[in-house]
Symmetry: C2
Subunit: 312 residues, 2 copies
Amino acid sequence: MTTPIRIALVGMGKIARDQHVPTIQQDPVFQLVATVSTSGGSVDDLPAFASLEALAASGVAVDAVSLCTPPQVRRAIAHSAIDQGWAVFLEKPPAATVSEAIALRDHARARGTGLFASWHSRHAPAVEPARVWLADRQVLDASIIWAEDVRQWHPGQDWIFEPGGFGVFDPAINALSIATQILPQALFVEGAAIDVPSNRGAAIAADVSLRTAAGAPVHARLDFLQRGRQRWDIAVRTNDGDLLLSDGGAALSINGDSLSVADALHGEYAGLYRRFAEIVPAREVDMDLAPLTLVADIHLVARRTEVDAFDW
Amino acid sequence: MTTPIRIALVGMGKIARDQHVPTIQQDPVFQLVATVSTSGGSVDDLPAFASLEALAASGVAVDAVSLCTPPQVRRAIAHSAIDQGWAVFLEKPPAATVSEAIALRDHARARGTGLFASWHSRHAPAVEPARVWLADRQVLDASIIWAEDVRQWHPGQDWIFEPGGFGVFDPAINALSIATQILPQALFVEGAAIDVPSNRGAAIAADVSLRTAAGAPVHARLDFLQRGRQRWDIAVRTNDGDLLLSDGGAALSINGDSLSVADALHGEYAGLYRRFAEIVPAREVDMDLAPLTLVADIHLVARRTEVDAFDW
């Protein structure tokens, strides 16, 4: 057992408290040494700072940072952290725009620091078995349904419906992160219809037509107003049977038969930090921009329809 | 003088006839050997084919192809051309989406064939002098005005207002190709307001807020309904004087004084083909995706407003 990786958390909102703090505290590979928050959030008795610059000036020894800030400020903070020589873990999406994400990737490569664009849904337990099963099969078509109730999962979070807040693409980028991981070919956007509430600036529902590089059609139905049973499903028909990945990657069935899926790591974030533990010492840049690029491409080609105003 | 590069033109629309054919025919480095067109366009007595597959099967010896097709079909054709081992010249934009352009770049690298994402405006005569002048100066702010009359420049071309047709970003991507070439830092999109006519699916005007990696604000005003004097101007204020690049890169003034700009190559397309002549034998991939990525990013973060219907 080597020395733990000394890590600071930046941006102490809900995802940091619900996922990052407990995951880091339960993983002996990491040692949480500080927090950074503009709103004063802290953890136990750890040193807490108001900015990355204050952390850097403090003398606290840091090997890596996890950035859980809103994406709008993530690039500048990540850039500074890379300049400090710290490895950087980026919550999803890795930046507010594709251009920013590319610049971060290039900067980390130039400086030789570790950088990780995390996609937590890829670490759901049934994703890797699905990828393996599909790897040597020919995809005929696929269907993504990502339908959840924004009032249940993001109550009162107006930022999500601001321009650049991603709207229904905030959860749907998880679906795209899984689809780009399990399908054996790249995905391209052919067209999209996006519904935007009359009083909001981001999508509340969308229908997206994609195609694999091999020509198979992939349809995605995204809905932020789903009542009753919530659905996070990806169904794939192949030349050799059908796959259904459901519950956001937690459950897998082949030709209608459920498979037992082990979750050895007990959670998506445990898997992410297991991966980050490889990235830090290797100074690796693991920055798959395909999910974010697809979301930008969808907005580039989409036809928009104004729909009923949305209020909480 | 070595053997000419044998080149075929694919997609025989207006840009192929107005620019590519005369440029290739005047350049001794290239020899136009065939055309490919689904609508039957041809040049002189050259062999004409209805598809890339027909050209490949014909026995006509080809070293390179220039793709002037609509962007929606460009990826598949470019992919096939790369598989043939032919170098590929892509008209702008290099593909319909960023994901497609990245896939082409990766495919050409894997196959070791030449690939060129052309940005013709970068070869306007005053662009390189502007880049050199700005290279060692600190940019304080910049302003882009790209205002032209779509009825004059694209009369009756309904495709430009279809979703994915780019609308006013069809000309504005030229401005972004120049700005990303002459400004010494990368550009990022912070916000945008896009006007879409009530009967159309793409922008007719836009205001875009960008920022350089060093923090300098850059504003772009894009308008497709400009009457009177057409404007394609980029103004840059620096710590050491002001630059105005006007007429789409044809004219340059520094602190209000016009500079004489030589156009040794007699046109943007002569410059593009001069560059392609380097790319083909070197099997180089020259694929700067920054302009296309910025256009996608703008659509990702934009607030949209429905404006008056547009008719020709």
